[in-house]
Homo-oligomer: 112 residues x 2
DNA sequence: CACATATTTCCACTACTGTGGAACTATGGA
DNA sequence: TCCATAGTTCCACAGTAGTGGAAATATGTG
C-alpha cells in the first residue's frame, strides 16, 4: 500500500515542515539550500529527508543552474487525502461530513 | 506536533488495517480478539499495535465482560484530516479544491 | 476454588531510521 | 584550468520500532 509510504514520509517533524513549506511555495518550488537555510538543517540531513519525500512521490526535483529546486507533488497529496477520506466515508459520515466546513473555513476560493 | 504521532501511528500496514476496520465497525467497535482473528495477527502483536493507535488518540477502549472493545476516535481522525486540509489550503487550492468532489463521490449522505 | 477465555505485559532479539562528518559530483565564472 | 558554490552519497553510530514466546492479569463459569 503506497498510502503507508506517504504517511510515513510525513510522519516526521522535519519532513512535514519541509513538505508544508513546499506546498506554500507553490509551483515555483524552493532550492534545497534555501530550505536548509530556512529550517537550519545540515544539508546532508535535509538531502536524506527530501529523498524520503521523493520516494514517497510527494515532491519532485529539477536542476536549475547550481541549485536543485524541489516542488510539492499536489497530485500525490490529493490522492492521499482522497484515500483517507474515502476510507472514512466508507463507513463513517461522522468524520467526513464536517470536512465540508473545514474546506470552507480554510478560506480558499475554489473550496467554497 | 501531535499530527506527527497520528501520521506515524497510521504509517504501518497492520495498524492502518486495524484502524480502517474500526472505522467501518462504527460506534459499536470490535473486540481485540475479533480483530486478531480477522487479521490473523498474534494477540500480543495486535495489542502492541492497538496501544500505538491508542497513544496517538486514534482509538478508545472499554472493557465488556472478558473482552476489550476498541472503537475509532472519529474526532481525532477528523482533526488530522482538518490539519492536512488546512495545511493544503493555506497555499494550494490545487489540492483541496477537488476534495469536494471526493466527498461527493464517497457517497455518504451528509457530505452531499 | 479450579478452570477456561480474553488480553496485556515483559523481555529479548532483529531490523530499520535518523543523523552528521567527510568525501565526492556537478555547475558556473574568472 | 582553477576555484567557489550547491547538493549528494558514503559510512558508521545511536536510537527507535516491530515481533512473538512466555508469563501475568482480569473476568466469567461450574
Amino acid at each position: 500500500m503506497t498510502a503507508v509510504s506517504c504517511l510515513s514520509a510525513l510522519a516526521h517533524e522535519g519532513r512535514l515542515r519541509v513538505f508544508r513549506m513546499l506546498v506554500q511555495a507553490g509551483v515555483m518550488g524552493l532550492a534545497a539550500g534555501e530550505i536548509a537555510r530556512r529550517l537550519d538543517t545540515p544539508p546532508n540531513t535535509l538531502s536524506a529527508n527530501l529523498n524520503v519525500l521523493f520516494h514517497a512521490g510527494l515532491v519532485l526535483s529539477r536542476r536549475q543552474g547550481r541549485s536543485i529546486i524541489y516542488t510539492a507533488q499536489y497530485d500525490r497529496m490529493r490522492a492521499l487525502l482522497g484515500f483517507l477520506v474515502e476510507d472514512c466515508c466508507g463507513g463513517a459520515p461522522e468524520i467526513c461530513a464536517p470536512l465540508g466546513d473545514v474546506l470552507r473555513k480554510a478560506d480558499c476560493g475554489p473550496c467554497r
